[in-house]
């Protein structure tokens, strides 16, 4: 059998990535939607799931396919994505961002050409507007326009954002899945029977794709010679085998995975964002071990696998998470040879996608920390985000996950923990802006940003009484906005159910249940919930404490405070200084830390008590994926001293500039929060100055990182509460990043300087200026200082 040379395979992977980055237009998604539309009439009498599958199969038959001369695997995600994701779009501006609430806005992301003239694009857009999905979604957005306009909350239909479990398909092949389905059909009810028919059609799509790629490989074989000929022969033979049949070698497993993934994404074109791989080292290790491949050989194949996740000039397929390592139910470490080979591939390629996460636990081998050191301490290199598996084994069972399933916890998108193949979390369904709720509570339901009336359920009263009762009034309003948010969020989930996903369902428990993953009547996947991303905890808690201080020391200024907020503190600078002098979260101050923990706990309970479209609970997720900027822009001045339109605090972190005593004290404040209630996830970022790490080599620095950062935070035997379970870091300083921006050619000659923003990593140089500046601001030395 052909044996891949690690050096040459690495070279071709790098050339493949370069070739991909040169692509500046994406039309595949348009062809898919257009073809599906064309066949709508033909299949319109079929049940919805079957109709979706048949239309999709027609698209898969005609979608133009190619195999690059540099590719060792067949497959691309390019045709599943539009050039839409805002934060890496150069035209993105915080001031004008309106969210992704117009499902036909994607047609603006395709530049008209001779092949795709404006008329063709507009024609499809108009047809799309008439679909049940777009009509029902638009109706939801219209119904809550007043509340989402200045983002008291936001809601969206969730696409992507799941973690399929491909292991069965890899091991047994699609043929076995088809026969499993036929077996299930024998006892299925009528609806399930139809659904199973749809799943069979969807699985046929991946067989069609493999066949079409094989034909291309065979054609290329005719003119190939030497080593490339041998590679193409292997590719052709492999495509004849997988994914129809089970894989045996690592090469076959990777090829099979790629095609299954491609179909899964094509099914959700044009925005299957944040589908995530899961525990890749565990998925592929059996095949590597079967092959007996060396670390270098394995890494070189993984390099091509990683390139697959990058789409076009800005890696438009964002937030695809890949996780490694972790533990089993009994605490045994599950790191394996594929873990280290994947790390090698990641480090050498340094690509913007897929994002890397690592599950750590108290028995994680020192070797893993040593090998992670190079990621953390090489400037411009991607850094993994870290999960505390010991904590996840406590948090998730409390949220109803069977203990035997927790071992398969992976990360969907940025930091949301889900179970591979068993958990439909609708993670980004709703977004709750506590900062705005506080502003409206203090100003009788009127926006201090625009003067618009938005809403309150509290009665008007005098300033001092309102301030004295601020907590009661705030929580009353929070409940009102939360209820409204959930109604709208469930409306979005109902809207997206008009677009069934039969293929995805086959790797999300649909073969077992007989129902679509998006079904709103029957639960298609073992676990189901809806996410709520909660914004502004620490600015609200800081505000409560500042109000207490004002009432205690200067009650006569109650009215002035409200005036000051309306005027964004203009003319009230002295009052603002007074408010800023109140204790702030992030400095290990007992009073304000307790307030923040209590607020976090109450809001988590409020969200958790809400029911989604299937009657399952919402999941509180305290993460703000750059939305601390976007939503902060719509929040007026707050009593903590934060000015109008300034950012909110990031995730569960203190507001920028408020943690004045370094990372150790921030860690202490953080550890008081109720992580056991954050079953939807949370975000926290540490900026770390590399100068505090004295070891001479990366390995030593990796161990230092364990001792100085991870052990106190994650594996602290003196902490009696559920420990934090997520952290992402940027080991750099604001000064370094300013230099990179000023002289990109000097500091990032390849044009790629990877940084983390929220859960994902991106090319820092691709980011819009507002996001670049946000990263720089949150690296303030006062909060990032870890040594002295």
């Amino acid at each position: 059998m052909y044996k891949f040379d690690p050096i040459k395979t690495t070279e071709s992977a790098k050339l493949l990535f370069k070739e991909e980055r040169a692509i500046n237009h994406l039309e595949g998604w348009f062809i898919i939607k257009e073809t599906e539309q064309k066949f709508h009439e033909k299949y319109k009498e079929l049940p919805p799931m079957r109709r979706a599958a048949e239309k999709f199969r027609e698209a898969v038959k005609v979608l133009p396919l190619t195999i690059s001369d540099y590719a060792v695997f067949a497959g691309t995600q390019r045709d599943a994505f539009a050039r839409s994701y805002a934060l890496i779009n150069p035209s993105f501006r915080v001031e004008t961002f309106a969210g992704y609430c117009d499902p036909t806005a994607v047609y603006d992301d395709i530049d008209p050409t001779d092949e795709f003239p404006k008329e063709r694009i507009d024609a499809l857009r108009e047809l799309d507007k008439e679909t049940d999905y777009v009509k029902s979604l638009s109706a939801v957005y219209e119904s809550c326009e007043n509340l989402t306009g200045e983002v008291a909350f936001f809601i969206e239909q969730v696409t992507g954002h799941l973690i399929p479990d491909m292991r069965y398909a890899l091991k047994h092949g699609v043929k076995k899945m088809l026969s499993d389905i036929e077996e299930k059909q024998k006892t299925a009810n009528a609806e399930q029977y139809d659904n199973y028919e749809a799943m069979k059609v969807a699985l046929d799509c991946v067989l069609i794709l493999a066949k079409r790629y094989k034909e291309i490989a065979d054609e290329k074989l005719l003119s190939a010679d030497g080593e490339r000929k041998e590679q193409l022969k292997l590719l052709s033979d492999t495509l004849a085998k997988v994914p129809e049949n089970g894989a045996e070698t690592l090469y076959e497993a990777l090829q099979s995975f790629i095609l299954l993934w491609e179909i899964m994404c094509l099914e959700q074109a044009p925005n299957p964002f944040a589908f995530s791989v899961g525990n890749a080292d565990r998925i592929f290790e059996p095949y590597r071990a079967n092959d007996g491949l060396s670390r270098e050989e394995t890494a070189s194949l993984f390099k091509h696998f990683l390139v697959f996740f990058n789409v076009a000039d800005r890696s438009w397929a964002i937030s695809q998470n890949l996780i490694v390592s972790g533990r089993d139910k009994d605490g045994n470490d599950l790191t394996n040879d594929s873990t280290y080979a994947l790390l090698d591939a990641y480090y050498d390629m340094n690509l913007p996608q897929p994002i890397l996460s690592v599950k750590l636990h108290k028995n994680t081998p020192q070797k893993l920390y040593e090998e992670l050191g190079r990621f953390l301490f090489t400037p411009g290199c991607l850094t993994p985000s870290f999960f505390n598996d010991d904590s996840l084994f406590k948090v998730l069972p409390e949220a109803g996950i069977d203990i035997d399933d927790v071992v398969d916890t992976s990360i969907a998108g940025c930091q949301e923990p889900l179970i591979m193949g068993k958990d439909n979390g609708n993670t980004t369904n709703s977004w709750f802006n506590l900062g705005k709720v506080l502003e409206l509570t203090l100003n009788n339901g009127y926006s201090t940003v625009t003067g618009e009336k938005i809403g309150t359920v509290c009665e008007e009263t005098d300033a001092l009484t309102a301030l004295k009762n601020i907590r009661e009034r705030f929580y009353k309003n929070a409940q009102y906005f939360c209820d409204e948010m959930v109604k709208a969020a469930n409306g979005c989930s109902r809207a997206i159910s008009h677009l069934p996903v039969p293929f995805l369902s086959t790797v999300m428990g649909g073969i077992e249940s007989g129902y679509d993953t998006r079904d709103i009547v029957h639960q298609g996947t073992k676990y189901n919930g809806s996410g709520c991303l909660i914004h502004g905890t620490s600015v609200v808690a800081d505000s409560f404490i500042a109000i207490d201080k004002l009432i205690k020391e200067r009650p006569e200024d109650a009215e002035n405070l409200l005036k000051a907020l309306k005027n964004n503190f203009e003319g009230y600078e002295e009052l603002r200084e007074f408010l800023l002098s109140a204790p702030k979260f992030g400095n290990n101050n007992e009073e304000v830390d307790r307030e923040t923990a209590e607020l976090t706990s109450k809001i988590a309970d409020m969200v958790r008590a809400q029911k989604n479209y299937l009657g399952n609970n919402f999941r509180p997720d305290f993460s703000t994926p750059s939305t601390h900027l976007l939503y902060g822009y719509w929040v007026g001045a707050l009593p903590c001293g934060r000015k109008s339109r300034d950012m909110l605090n990031y995730g569960v972190d203190p507001l920028y500039g408020e943690a004045q005593n370094g990372l150790g004290f921030r860690t202490l404040s953080l550890m008081k929060l109720p992580f056991n209630k954050m079953c939807g996830g949370y975000a926290s970022h540490f900026g770390i100055d590399p100068k505090y790490f004295m070891s001479k080599d990366y390995e030593g620095k990796g161990v230092e990182f364990r001792d100085k950062v991870m052990k106190p935070l994650f594996f602290n035997e003196l902490n009696e509460k559920v420990a934090p379970f997520y952290l992402y870091v940027n080991v750099t300083t604001a000064e370094i990043l300013k230099k990179v921006l000023a002289e990109p050619k000097k500091y990032a000659p390849s044009g790629v300087y990877i940084m983390r923003i929220h859960g994902t990593f991106v090319n820092f140089l691709d980011l819009s200026p507002a996001i670049q500046q946000d990263i720089i601001r949150r690296l303030d030395p006062a909060s990032t200082n870890i040594g002295c």
């Binding site: 150790g664 550890m671 505090y692 602290n716 902490n719 040594g787 002295c788």
Partner: protein
Amino acid sequence: MGNNSFIYTFQKGFNYSQDGPGNRLVYHLAGCNFKCPWCSNPEGLQITDSVAKTEIDDIVKESLSAKMIFIDGGGVTLTGGEVTCQKVAVLTLLKKLKENGIHTCIETNASLPCCEEIFRTVDYMIADFKSPFGDKVFHILGGDIETIKNNLIFRVKTGKPLLVRVPLIHFFNCGEENAKAFGEFFRELQTLSNNNLFFEILTYHEFGKEKYTKLGMEYSVTDGYVSDDDVKILLTELKNRNLKVINT
């Protein structure tokens, strides 16, 4: 400094293992009797208006609230400046921390007299020993070598842990002659110890250099960096004398 209810500090933060065992809350105390030209904390050389005057009880309270992250045998470290410049207050603080079950450590140049009570009380002591030659200690640093030696001998005799650190500076204390003299004195200490004596070589860095500009001070060191060979000479000398050399 006779007051025993306040401590003057200019910086605080956490550090792991490099300022004593485990994860530690480190307070930098203002004021120093030395004038080392390579000092990385020039902002702490004097007690000025810009340093923080903190109640000892507040430091104890803060330390107690941070107890949760004193992992791996950690605790509180007082460093400088020179901690013994505030010896009355430092002794009070050390005793209060110990009463509250917090492990204590100081980093000192061990050059001031009449500090025995501190050296007897503190759980872990780190002492810089910058040169074995009295004239250099006197002329360049401004200290008395006999006092330093006596203080180190005193600490060793208490039987409590002592880590002696040599900051290796090229123009100041490198080479065979220095290494031999370091080795001789350290061997003398070793004969008095009960296995709680450790040595560490630190190499010159310029982390504090930028601060000099900000403070309007001149940074005069131009020949500080040491080579691997410079380190090796001293390391070999110490190892040949069976001294316990560690890296923190």
